[in-house]
Symmetry: C2
Subunit: 250 residues, 2 copies
Amino acid sequence: MLVDTGSGDRAIERSAQACHRGRSATPCAECAARPVSVCSALAVPELRELEALSQHLTLDKGQALFRQDEPGDAVYNVIEGSLRLTRLLPDGRRHIMGFALPGDFLGLALAERHAVSAEALGPVLTCRFGREDFAALLEAKPHLLRSLHARTGAELMLAQDQMLLLGRRTAEEKVVAFLLGLRNRYARTGRSSVTVELPMGRQDMADHLGLTIETVSRMLTRLDRAHLILIVPGGVRLLDVERLERLAAS
Amino acid sequence: MLVDTGSGDRAIERSAQACHRGRSATPCAECAARPVSVCSALAVPELRELEALSQHLTLDKGQALFRQDEPGDAVYNVIEGSLRLTRLLPDGRRHIMGFALPGDFLGLALAERHAVSAEALGPVLTCRFGREDFAALLEAKPHLLRSLHARTGAELMLAQDQMLLLGRRTAEEKVVAFLLGLRNRYARTGRSSVTVELPMGRQDMADHLGLTIETVSRMLTRLDRAHLILIVPGGVRLLDVERLERLAAS
DNA sequence: ACGAGGCTTTGCGGTGGATCAAGGCCGCTC
DNA sequence: GAGCGGCCTTGATCCACCGCAAAGCCTCGT
């Protein structure tokens, strides 16, 4: 949902040939992500136009959709799976600006160059639009631009929340706020559940919260031992949301 | 330039009667802030319409333009002076999301409620637009909306820079990056100079950088003693920009 | 000129989280 | 099913920054 752009680190290689391209059989009207994505701004008849401009694109775990500082020649809508949006400091320090979930739009800022790298946390399905095509569509559909602007504004508010979190919260508050925030995002995109999936690793959480991997791990085990959460494979179960919310001091 | 909204702390009281309202004699075409503000998206003939919708509004040091959580019934363009954009945690911890300078637009997100408080750091002159009026204008002028969206996108990128700064940088890097960033913003709005004005106090800088007032003070004196900057009344003089940029690791 | 209040600087411990260093727990592949 | 590699946890120590306290300094009003 955040801006985009990117250059990765590791052994993550964008292998264009590995990405299956071209529309699959499913039309926009039946897209699972449509109700929660920008596309919801378009009426059903308009979806035909959108469909003509779009390409499906899949990624495997670890592949980069785009890299920091690359020219932003396309924008994407996430349909399935999740990605991490990473920014690198010249000296190698890494920060994760956020995680993109189904329905999130990558390229909100329509910037010349991607400000972050987008790397798949698992199998990912996206809908790709060429930059020119999408700009032309925005030109023709003011309500799409308005919807995009509204999303960008919402993203800006989230970014502010994150700034406050990074600047003024303790390690425990950070971890708890992260879990609750993720839960709320899942709830908004449909499946709400007591169990919060964590598709990212501990290091990713740490790089998102401005902590080290050890601190994140310690805080999680502390919350577990206090019976506020239960650590399960692939995620956590929130046992006492009320008390967690008090801890997050939001 | 950031979002807006607000509820302050201290003895800052919005005294509506203290704000001189109504257009002064100067028309939009001669506005000093026009070249660097959203208004630059409008052609000279269109400025008449803009002018009809706008009201000048002045603030004294410490007065709030709006408060966190207030309904966002207006948007503002800063013409002269500077403001701090503050967000408060329920327990009193404060974070300053940014500082608005001449040319900055407050209310980019067009949100229902202000996300921050905007408080004048000194005498301030703003241009006020009613929310409804401005929305109607956006409806009528797509290029104004596009300009606003571009600004919001740029703001989002800045917010990401700030997140990286808050999450992954040392106290010294934070202070240096802040000084350099402020210098660049001044340069963009016209008057560039070796001397960087600091209209905000040390506590404000601390609350912006996620530090304490003592740490900010210590870093500044350390930079001063290293002859990288010179602390002068009301600001600092940058003595060795090259070395400062290396320190900021940007 | 003087005094008061607010802001800034400086010194001195204290501490939350970083850093360093083992292990432990999978889920692979062979 | 043994061995390997990646991730996660846990413990011990360290240090950058915090928090408190006391001056110092500047501005403003009288």
